[in-house]
Symmetry: C2
Subunit: 596 residues, 2 copies
């Protein structure tokens, strides 16, 4: 099997770090405790490993194709999608009343990781559909929900997000697509949308496009954008499909990676206007879109974790098999498998430490989301919501940055074979490269982290988390082992760097925004490194507690946690220096354009 | 023009950092001073920009093709190669008596950078030919030199290096190809060689393969390998081409990048044996091959610099053109070109700082090579040779690691467009990825840095260089400006980290080789960061001296040098921590195979 979901590691995080029992104590989640999670994960691991992962290479070699406006998915994808939806996986975290399984996000999250590890291109389709479902559930009318959500959950239809236009990428203020009211409650939508993932395909009978456009006389900028449902086929009153709508796929992109996932250019209204239905109120489209985007951003973070784990698994398998050179310590007189070589160990250790840290933080974030939605106490809900929102840009930004390094190390472990496409390591390197770009580049995540998540509350959440990290450091200090001492030292230093940077951001964001935002991505990375390091500290403590139960498993967890401190957390000081040294009056900020 | 060679920056390095006047004072190089260098670089810039760079995209879209054993290069490549050799560029640094230009390596090096920036796939062909020429000149008989070198310099023939076999990559001890003496001074060669760059093509009438193989009864391991000339077509006594030799290209690889460069599988001796001619003595093949490899490794380092610069140029052009979002400091009420955004500045600054640092170190190394060959005083020659040899793995390893980051940032600056192949940024990302792998992976370079370059001389060269860095720190301390103070602080810290690591390596390499080699690549990176930082310090001092001559140019140099300190040198401490924390009895070194 080319992908074996790390169910044991995932369950360790659910139980020891993300607190699945607290989530299962929430109303409605009584059945969703550890045992359920284990059963769900085991089942999903089978689907991912046996059905979806084998299509990954084929999707890269024979991508989706466009012809005369129609897109044909890679052979096998449609059948696998059928199996996916028939197993109920699209509805995993959606309400039972619309046909979903109503499981916690915490249980859905490892499944999303598995699907993305198995086949990033494939998993994008359900990911976008999840986003459309969330937006409809939040802002749609009851009739809209009833009309669209069950079909999206059943997989008869899929969903898309239509934000980007040629001139409007990160900058949605520049959106020009327009929607003209027809007096009958419907609108006619006109415009060109680009980079629409699974914007056209043959895996489902209908596609529900959620589209940002401007109504006549709407205010300029982001405050004049509305959100519309534009189905590929209009839907009759009885739910059957009606006429083909005036939205057409004029081309798909030739991309570096995720080649099986068709990235469509969609043309709206070339034949009189595409019929669209307003979601919620006019001019509040960006707000609704952010619901989709936050869900999607978290999901993209999981894509990073998933691809990183897949790349790690492949590298480990090769390192155990490839024989080359004698060990440097003279322990063998013959050439050895390369996993004997210290630098290969370092690479594999780095890959695994980064992956495990990012996974842990993401699952912890998912638990906060569940508590934010389901807890009985409003104050508790608000606190968890604030933490979740703080973590989303970090989960998205850090997981997708680290996966580039992990996938690159995966290529490197393979040596020359890594550069040969048949080997497969290069596909992860190519596929992964989109993750730090779409659903908001790392810089966009970092702006969010600074503006909405750090400055707006005066650093309250950041400081609360630093307080929790201090407690973990204290526990590590009392834990005795050399591994715990080493990690405590690095985690303390890293937390101090993060605290200094938070203070710097708060003190200077008004006075010298250029200096603060020049350090935005380093700040996000620092936060990712330290918060994941915190989880590695908690993992180390848990594994020391449980050590006798499973020496091999927990021994590895402890070693990787220590390694994380020495190799990843050790980078914190350098990031702090880079951030704090930014000054508006010097360095590259001051160069004129011609000097570049 | 898609590539504009940075001639002004290159000349700055030649003059201010690499000491071209000292090289021009060497016997035979009297004509090769600054003015000559300027003329040569200007001419090469034209060829690279106008003739070779325009073929780069086409080579990626329509790679070299294989059919029935013959390889056809991308359309236009053969004609461009003709223009290249007719201009005398293949012979740039080779002796006049064989038709070369006999210019210093220091002058050839910027030209090599340009060619590789223009078109990595194309430039690989002359690079390999350079290696073959060097090996022949060093170890060949006079007859062999006269027979092959003039044709290689004229470009009528090209050269290859045949080391790798399916089971023997980094580990040449595993080479199995064999050579049977025929009693007439020739050998019959049998075996399979893989990953042979430009191993078959239609750009020249003959290909001179230099092949590692074992003679009967040769000792096992690397001490039983000999080096053979195996021409594609046998060469008659009068120099005309004779029979086709028994070496055949059975396939070429489908690769992540450098697609126009055919990577051949060569089969020797399937029809009775390929006729080969021993170079030098039996069983000394590895020694001779290292001559080629050292030249080639330095050249691959320049490939890293070249691709990094190309990626930087493309990113700058896009950043000046793409309009998206308002400046964070409120300085514009409308959306601005993205070069206004601090994070884009940070990315461009990082790309440029890494590129300029690596370029400077490489050119300085080239000057040491010239002095090592040409100086009148044997002690001076030996000192320069030792420094050059110390620098080669760093130039190779660091330039090729940093280019992955630079090319990745280049993609990131382009946002979603970066992931679309038509944009072109992704090609640099793909092409660059081979550089840290071929001619010895970074780990192989790092082993060389530790074993042959640090431990063998008891750290003498490393410490001598640290002494020179201390002098630069002192000069920066006296230079007054805030930029100089900032860089001095970071350079001092970085040098201290490097000094600590050198001591650690020397003290522990015997006692705990696993621990030392677990830090081998971090050591190489640390050395690269610090030594390039040293050059940035020297550049800053030179630009402060020359500032009044050209405010714009030198102002940028000073800003980038400061930025290098704050963003790149600042990483030194983290690397030191990672290296010094390695212990054989803990962390990933101690994990059993099943724990991975």
């Amino acid at each position: 099997m080319s992908y074996l979901a790390p169910v044991k590691d995932m369950l360790f995080v659910l139980k020891e770090l993300a607190g699945i029992e607290a989530v299962a104590a929430l109303p409605g989640f009584e059945e969703a405790g550890f045992d359920t999670a284990q059963a769900v994960l085991d089942e999903c691991a089978k689907l991912a490993g046996e059905v979806i992962a084998p299509l990954n290479v084929e999707g890269d070699r024979a991508p989706s194709t466009w012809r005369d406006g129609a897109v044909t998915a890679t052979a096998g994808f449609a059948a696998a999608f059928r199996q996916f939806v028939e197993g109920g996986w699209q509805g995993l975290q959606h309400p039972a009343e619309y046909g979903g399984q109503a499981l916690p996000k915490l249980v859905a999250t490892p499944c999303i990781e598995m699907l993305n590890a198995a086949n990033l291109s494939f998993a994008l389709c359900p990911l976008l559909t999840d986003g459309a479902i969330e937006a409809l559930l939040t802002a749609g009318t009851e009739a809209q929900k009833m009309r669209y959500v069950p079909k999206l959950i059943s997989g008869e239809w899929t969903g898309t997000m239509n934000l980007t236009e040629p001139q409007a990428g990160s900058d949605l203020a520049l959106v020009r697509s327009r929607a003209e009211p027809q007096g009958d409650g419907t609108y006619r939508v006109f415009g060109t949308k680009i980079f629409i993932t699974w914007g056209e395909h043959d895996m489902a009978e209908n596609i529900v496009h959620l589209v940002l456009a401007r109504t006549p006389n709407a205010p300029e900028g982001v405050k004049g954008i509305s959100l519309f449902i534009v189905p590929k086929f209009l839907v009759n009153e009885d739910g059957t499909l009606g006429a083909r709508n005036d939205v057409h796929c004029v081309s798909i992109e030739h991309k570096l990676g995720i080649k099986a996932s068709p990235t469509a250019v969609l043309q709206y209204g070339d034949h009189g206007g595409a019929t669209g239905y307003l979601i919620g109120e006019e001019n509040r489209g960006l707000e609704y879109m952010f619901i989709m985007m936050n869900a999607a951003r978290f999901g993209v973070g999981m894509q990073g974790v998933g691809v990183a784990d897949r790349a790690y698994q492949k590298a480990v398998a090769y390192a155990k098999e490839r024989v080359q050179s004698r060990p440097v310590d003279g322990s063998l007189k013959t050439s050895a498998t390369i996993i004997h070589h210290p630098d290969v160990r370092r690479m594999l250790g780095t890959m695994r430490a980064l992956t495990e840290g990012a996974r842990a933080l993401a699952y912890v974030a998912a638990a906060h989301s569940d508590l934010a939605h389901g807890h009985a106490d409003a104050d508790v809900r608000a606190r968890h919501q604030a933490i979740y929102e703080f973590l989303v840009p970090i989960v998205k930004g850090w997981s997708t940055e680290m996966v580039n390094d992990v996938a690159s190390l995966g290529v490197q472990v393979h040596g020359g074979m890594g550069f040969i496409e048949e080997t497969g390591a290069a596909q992860y390197y190519r596929d992964a490269r989109i993750l730090a770009i779409y659903e908001g580049t790392t810089a966009i995540q970092a702006n969010d982290l600074i503006g909405r998540k750090t400055v707006r509350d005066g650093g309250a959440v950041a400081k609360a988390l630093l307080g929790e990290i201090a407690q973990t450091c204290e526990a590590l200090g009392q834990a005795g082992s050399a591994a715990a001492q080493s990690l405590r030292a690095q985690l303390e230093k890293g937390a101090q760097s993060l605290a200094n940077v938070v203070d710097f951001v708060l003190a200077n964001v008004k006075r010298d925004p250029n200096a603060v935002f020049a350090g935005s991505v380093p700040y996000l990375k620092l936060a990712g490194i330290v918060l994941c390091g915190w989880q590695m500290g908690r993992a180390l403590l848990a594994s020391q507690r449980e050590f006798e139960q499973d020496l091999e498993f927990h021994g590895a967890k402890i070693a990787i946690a220590q390694f994380y401190g020495e190799h990843v957390l050790a980078q914190a000081g350098g990031l702090e220096t880079a951030i704090l040294s930014a000054r508006g009056d010097a360095s590259v900020l001051a160069l004129s354009e011609v000097q570049f």
